[in-house]
């Protein structure tokens, strides 16, 4: 026979009468906190904040593409630790794919990298249309580990794969009127969906002075970490200018134009007081809205001091001799 319940275990008449109220207020509490909590969490993780994304698998060379072999490595490297493949491929600024850092990694797959051609026009002997695999066959693939400093005061160390732009320029035989080179990104809202928006004027155009373009450090990248570039990093062909802020490196390039006058470039047009044509990494010239004196290396917590020309001063400072770098920022 079961023992009778102890008096302390017996529900009081008052509580018994209020059980419905208790259940109702309990349900109300759960519903309110769930709704409020979900709403606030969702809202605060929108837009400027970045939900984590999975890194893409390392892309494989397209079928029928040129052989994907590293012909040269070790000529250019930096003594610092490389940023992880995951961070390099999930934290990107590629506004044509979305303005958050994570959106490009989600949509990068939309860029169809074969067939792909680069048009070379303007001030050169004969205009050229070059297939991307032809470029790989002509110049081979060299690995170079460069620092990458974003104008937003963060930085990475990336092992790129590609060829020096100087090699391509030499093949193109520009005329003496070619004083600048303009680089144009693909214009196709099917592949680059955020080109539907008016965030920036499309297509994205960047430019270099011809001596900057022909400098041995200036690089055309087709891969990183030993495999082809994922879409979000500018597949299949992008510019890398390691002593300049990252936005100078146009992605998914379809055209290269030799011109006589300084080309209009996208960010410079959008906010001329914030983004100069030169955009050399310079700790002494602040962005109007933040300091450029230091940077956060992705993967590190403490900030590092930003180096003049991103640490490539010895190689490139001579390009700007006699120039007021505060004026030509």
């Amino acid at each position: 026979m079961a023992e009778p319940p102890k008096p302390s275990e017996i529900t009081t008449a008052e509580h018994y009468a209020r059980r419905r109220e208790f259940i109702r207020s309990g349900a109300l509490f759960l519903a309110t906190s769930a709704a409020v909590g979900a709403g606030l969490t969702e809202l605060s993780e929108l837009g400027s904040a970045d939900p984590p994304v999975k890194p893409p698998p390392m892309p494989k060379p397209a079928p029928g593409a040129a052989p994907w072999e590293i012909s040269r490595r070790g000529r250019y490297t930096v003594p610092e630790q490389r940023t992880s493949y995951e961070d390099v491929t999930t934290y990107n600024n590629y506004y044509e794919l979305g303005t958050s850092k994570s959106e490009p990694a989600r949509l990068g797959f939309r860029i169809k990298t074969r067939p792909w051609t680069l048009q070379v026009t303007g001030e050169l002997e004969t205009p050229l249309t070059l297939d991307i695999d032809t470029l790989i066959r002509w110049f081979g693939l060299e690995e170079r580990v460069y620092r990458m400093r974003c104008v937003e005061a963060w930085s990475m160390v990336i092992p790129w794969l590609g060829f020096p732009l100087a090699d391509l320029i030499a093949r193109c035989k520009p005329t003496s009127r070619a004083k600048y080179v303009a680089f144009t990104t693909l214009l196709d809202p099917e592949q680059l969906p955020n080109q539907e928006s008016r965030v920036l004027s499309w297509p994205y155009v960047e430019g270099l002075r011809i001596d900057e373009a022909a400098h041995p450090l200036t690089f055309m990248a087709l891969g990183l970490y030993g495999s082809p570039l994922p879409g979000q990093n500018g597949a299949p062909l992008r510019l890398v200018v390691p002593w300049k802020y990252g936005f100078k490196g146009g992605k998914s390039l379809v055209q290269m134009r030799f011109v006589e006058n300084e080309p209009e470039t996208t960010w410079n047009r959008a906010a001329p007081d914030e983004y100069g044509f030169y955009a050399n990494v310079n700790p002494l010239v602040d962005h109007p809205r933040w300091s450029q004196a230091s940077e956060r290396r992705i993967g590190e917590l403490a900030r590092r001091k930003t180096l003049p020309f991103n640490g490539y001063q010895d190689e490139v400072a001579s390009l700007y001799q006699g120039m007021d770098l505060r004026r030509f920022f």
């Binding site: 769930a34 965030v199 300091s291």
Partner: protein, 199 residues
Amino acid sequence: MIAGSLVPFASLAHRALAHRLGANPVATALNQLGLLALVFLIASLSCTPLKIALGWTWPVRVRRTLGLFCFFTALCHFLVYFCLDQAFSLAAFLADVEKRPFISLGFTALLLLVPLALTSTKRSVTRLGFRAWQRLHQLAYLVGVLAVVHFYLRVKADHTEPLLYAAILGFGFGLRIVAAWQAAQNTRRRALARAGRSG
């Protein structure tokens, strides 16, 4: 309400501990807390417009909780900026406040929230007198404007989101003005009616 308001903090803390805040966790935490503070602020400033437009009174009852959470979140946002982003560098912080309007505006907004948080108790209302207390708490409108401008100035190119918050804030202000104008009209009409009867 309080339990719900703690969820985004728990989510942020959980993701921070699980290393799931992406490649730049400091920036992610900073952005997320800033946005959350703004959401709390806009929500607390939307209580009165909701009452005016829809006759709902329950939002007014949670207004103080929302306001206090706004202050708490804004303080966390500031601490992440000062402690983690600038590594406690007073020099860097002062240079930022001096040179960069968006930071000075944001910091002003935080400072203005301090007296509001301190006088959020019922006792403060009695101590200050309702009128004076109400006038003091109208500072929240200014904080709302400062916070939205702070957000707008920080964004690089895509201004949709700050403009959306500005629109909600502006709509609320509009409703308040219309309601105040209608109230004034009613008072005048009543005064006129009274004058008519006695004359």
